[in-house]
Amino acid sequence: MIRVLRLLAVVRRRERLAAALVGLSRYALPAGLLIATGALLAERLLGAALQWGWAAVMPIFLVVAWAYVRPRPWRATARRIDEHYHLHDLLGSALELARVTTSDSRSRALIEILLVDAEAAAANCDPRRIVSFSFVKPRMLDAFAAFALVLAAMVPSVDADERDTSSSTVGAHVSHGSPGHETVDLSLAEPIRQDLRGLQRGEDDIAHMANAVLELLDALEHGTISVDEALANLEALERELANAEQRFETTLEDDPGMLEHGVEALADGLRSEDLTREAARALDEGRGQDAERALSESGQHAQTSEEHTAALERALANADRRLGEVADRKRDTASRLAEAERRLRREQKRNDSEDANDRERRLQQQRDRVDELRRQHEREQNAQRKLDELQRQAAQARDRNDSAEQRRRALDRLGRSAANAASTARTHQRLRHGREAMEEAKRFIRRSGQQGDANDRRKQQAKRFSKAAQGKRGKQGKSTLLVEGQIGDGEPDMMLDDDRPGDGQPGDHQDGQDGGDSSEAAGPSASDTMGTGSQEPFGDEHGIDVRPKNLRVTPHRGHGATRAEIIRTASQEGFAAEAYRDVYQDYRSFAQSTLDQESMPTSARKRVKRYFRMIQPRQ
C-alpha cells in the first residue's frame, strides 16, 4: 500500500494547492482589491493610517489557510484517482479493504490480489494528470474591484482641518493633522500633562478623556490644530466628562467622599505595620483587589508566628481607631436637610402678592434642594453604615476570643468591603481629578490663545496685586483682587505654615470644600507667593468697595443665631455662594496663571492646587 498512499499524498497536496489557486483567483483577488480600496479611501478621507492597507493581503492568507486545513477524506482523493483512470474504485476499495479482517480464506486471498493490483495501478498513475492547476477566468466582480481601486487612488486627500470640523470624536484625529497653525509653547504645561498621564492609566472614561486631552495638547504644540479648535474639542470632551459624572452619580449609593476618607483611614491604620503595608499601599493607589489579596496574605502570614499575629492586631487596631474617627465626624447634612424642608414648608405656606411664576420657580428650587439634600443624606447614611461595617470587621479580625479561622474570615470580609469602598472612592477621585485637569488644560489653552497680551495682562494683574498687598487702591478707588479676597473669610493663618495640621476655616469650609471636612485632615496650606507682601492682610475694611450684590448677604435674610449660621443659610439661597464664587475665580485664575507660567517645585504646585480645591465653592 506504500505506493497507493504515496500517490494519495501527492494528489492531496496538489488538490490543496489547486484549491488554493482557485480560491485566490475567485475570492482573495476581489476581496483584496476591495479591502485595499477601503483602506485607501479611509486614508484619503478619514486620515486613517495607510498601514491598514496591509489588510488587503489577509484574504490571501485566509484562502491558503482554508485550502490547507479544510477536511478532505483520503477516500475522496482515492475515488478521484479511480475515476480519472477508470480503475473502478480499485484504489479506494484497496484503501478500505486493507483494514478489513475476514475469516474466509478465499476472501483474504482476493483482498491480497486487490492490494497487489492497486499497488500496480498506483505505480502507473501520474498525479499531474489527475489534478491540474488552473485559475478562474476574470469576472465582472474582479473588474469592478480593480476599477474601484483605481477610482479610490484618484480621490484627493482631505485636510486634517476639514476632518476636524466634520468629526465629533475628540482626540481621535488631532494627532495626524497637517501642520499649518501657529505652534504654542506648552513647556509649562508639563504638570498638567503629568496629571493627565496619571489619569491615563485605566480603561474608563477618564482614561479616554485624559488621553484625548494629551493628544490635544500635543497637536496644539505642534501646530496641527488651532487654539480655537483645541478649545472646541475640549468643550466636547467636557460634555463627555459631564456625562460620565452623571452616569456615576446615578449609580451612586454611598457618599464617595466619606468612603474615600474611610479608605484613607483604613490605609493609614494598616500602614503602621510592615505586615500590612502592602495592603495599605494598594488601598492608597485605589487597587481594591490587590488590597484584598494583600490583606488576605497578611492574615495567612499572621498565622505563622505570634509576632506577626500581634503586628496584624496592632495594624487592625489602628485601622479600627482611624475608621472610628472618620465615622464619628459630625456632618451637617441632616440639619441642612431639616432646615431646607422647613424652609420649603414655610415657602409653601407664604401667601404674598408675589408673582406666581417667581414663586413657583423658587418653590421648585427649594424642592430640588430638598431632594438633593435628601439624596446626599441617604448616601451619607449608607456610607456611614459601610464605615461601621469596616470598623466592626476590623475589630472582629483581631478579636482573640474568636478562633483563627473566624478571624481569617473576618479579615477576608474586611478586604472585600475595603476593595469595594476603594473602587467607588477611586472612581470618584478620578472623576474629580479629571475635572480639574480638564479645567486647567482649558484655562491654559485659553491663555495661550491670548499669548500676545497675556504677559501684559499678567503684569497688570501682578501690579494690582502688589498694590493691594501694600494697601493701595486700584483705579477710581476700586478694590484690587487681594482686597476682595479678604472679605469676610480670610484668616491670616491660611496663608502661612503649610506643614501644620489645618485648623479649618469656619467661614468657608462648610460650603466650599469637598465633603466639608477635608480641611481638618489636611488643613489650609497656601503658597507663600500669595499675600506675603501684604503688610495689612485684612486691608482697610471700611474702605472696601464692596460690590452691590455682596450687600444682599444681610443678616435679616439669613437664619440662625450666629454669623456663621446666617451666612451659611444665606449661602444656601445662592447669594453668598455666587459672590464667593467670583472671588474664588479671581484668586484661582491668578494663582493658576502663576503656576502655568513659572517654574515651581511640583510639591509646591500640588499644595497650591490642593488649597484651592479645598476652598472651592460648592456647585
Binding site: 483520503w74 482476493l110 483482498i111
Partner: protein, 347 residues
C-alpha cells in the same frame, strides 16, 4: 462446433488463477449464448447474473424479442435440465408442482396406489412464459419454489434441484386478461430485465440467422458443479464498507419517508424497495465486476444493476400510476441524489 465442458472445481487453484478461470468460463458461456441470440448483450449478462447469483429473473418485453430463445439457449449452454411452462388462465398449480395420480394395482401389488408425478418445476431452469396470464392462485404456486427451493404437494415437501432458477417472461402490452404479479412474488425475482427492441444491425443479423439455411446449435460449456463453484466464488468476493453503505443509502432513498429521498420518490412512490433489493444490487454488482475480471465491485457496478434490481420492487402511488411515471426515471433521480459515501482516512 464442439466445446469442452468445464466440470472440475477450480477453488483448489491459486486465487488469481481461479479468478481468471472464472472470467474465462463466463466469457465462454456468454459467447456460446451469443452464437444463438443476436445482440441483447445486457440482457444476456443479466440472465447470466441471475444464474450465478441463484436468483430468479423476470424478463419483460414485447413478443418476438427472443426471450424464450435466450432462456432456452442458456439452459443448453450450461448443461442444465430445462422445462418450459406456458402460463395460461386455466393453468392449475398442480400443473406446475406436480400431482398424485392413481395407479392400478400391478402384478403382485395388493391395491391401487397414489403416485406423485413431479411437475415441470423440478428442473434446473424453469421458463415461466407469460407468467402474468395465469391466475394468482397458480402464480402463488411458484412462491414457495422460488423463495425456498422446495415444493409441497400431496402433503409432502420435496426439494428442488440445487441450481434452481426461474426465468419468467411477461408481455407489457397485452394487459387484457392478465393478472399482475403480486408484490410478494415480484420481490422474489432478483432482477427484472427489460428486453429492448433490437437495433437495425441486430435485426439484420437476426434475419440472416433465422431465415437462412444455417442453424446455430448451442453446446453446453459449463455444468452444474461449475455453476455452484462460481456462486461460491461470487460470495467470497470482498466488498468495500463504503460501497455497502452506498447501496443501503440508495435503497433507503427509494422510500418516500426517508430524509434522503428525492422529490420524485416523495411524490410518486407509495412503497420503496425491500431489503431484498439491496441484496440483489450487491450480489449483481459482484457478478458484474467478476464478469469484468475485477476482484471487487465498484460504485459504477452498483449503479449499473440498480434499475434491474429495484424497478419491480417499487410501488408507485395512484398519482404516479395515473401520470405514467416510469420507475426507471425515479431510480435515476435516486442515483443522482445519493452521494457516494466516503469513509475517513486510513489509520
Amino acid at each position: 462446433m464442439s466445446t469442452a465442458i468445464t466440470t472440475h472445481p477450480r477453488h483448489v487453484l491459486d486465487p488469481r488463477q481461479e479468478l481468471e478461470a472464472f472470467k474465462h468460463d463466463l466469457d465462454r458461456l456468454v459467447r456460446e449464448i451469443q452464437r444463438v441470440v443476436v445482440g441483447q448483450d445486457d440482457v444476456i449478462r443479466s440472465v447470466v447474473t441471475c444464474l450465478l447469483a441463484g436468483g430468479h429473473g423476470l424478463l419483460e418485453g414485447v413478443p418476438g424479442l427472443g426471450k424464450t430463445l435466450l432462456i432456452r439457449t442458456l439452459a443448453g449452454a450450461v448443461s442444465l435440465t430445462f422445462s418450459r411452462i406456458q402460463f395460461t388462465p386455466d393453468l392449475m398449480p398442480a400443473d406446475i408442482v406436480g400431482t398424485s395420480v392413481l395407479l392400478d394395482a400391478e402384478a403382485g401389488a395388493q391395491a391401487r396406489r397414489l403416485q406423485y408425478q413431479p411437475g415441470p418445476i423440478f428442473s434446473n431452469i424453469v421458463l415461466a412464459d407469460e407468467i402474468n396470464r395465469a391466475t394468482p392462485k397458480t402464480q402463488s404456486a411458484l412462491l414457495e419454489a422460488m423463495a425456498e427451493g422446495q415444493v409441497t404437494a400431496a402433503g409432502e415437501t420435496r426439494k428442488l434441484p440445487d441450481a434452481f432458477l426461474v426465468l419468467a417472461t411477461q408481455n407489457p402490452l397485452e394487459m387484457e386478461g392478465t393478472y399482475p404479479l403480486p408484490e410478494a412474488q415480484l420481490d422474489r425475482f432478483l432482477l427484472k430485465i427489460d428486453v429492448a427492441f433490437p437495433s437495425e444491425t441486430e435485426l439484420i443479423s437476426i434475419l440472416d440467422r433465422t431465415t437462412g439455411a444455417d442453424t446455430q446449435d448451442v453446446s453446453p460449456v459449463i455444468d452444474v458443479g461449475r455453476v455452484l463453484e462460481m456462486r461460491s466464488l461470487i460470495r467470497a468476493m470482498p466488498v468495500a464498507p463504503s460501497l455497502t453503505r452506498y447501496v443501503v443509502r440508495l435503497l433507503r432513498a427509494t422510500h418516500p419517508e426517508d430524509s434522503g429521498a428525492p422529490d420524485l420518490v416523495r411524490r410518486y412512490v407509495r412503497f420503496g424497495a425491500s431489503p431484498r433489493g439491496a441484496q440483489a444490487m450487491l450480489l449483481a454488482a459482484r457478478i458484474l465486476s467478476a464478469l469484468d475480471g475485477r476482484v471487487t465491485p465498484s460504485v459504477e457496478d452498483v449503479r449499473h444493476v440498480m434499475a434491474a434490481a429495484l424497478r419491480h420492487r417499487i410501488i408507485l402511488n395512484f398519482e404516479g400510476e395515473a401520470e405514467g411515471v416510469a420507475v426507471d426515471r425515479v431510480l435515476a433521480q435516486v442515483v443522482a441524489s445519493v452521494p457516494v459515501d466516503l469513509i475517513g482516512p486510513p489509520s
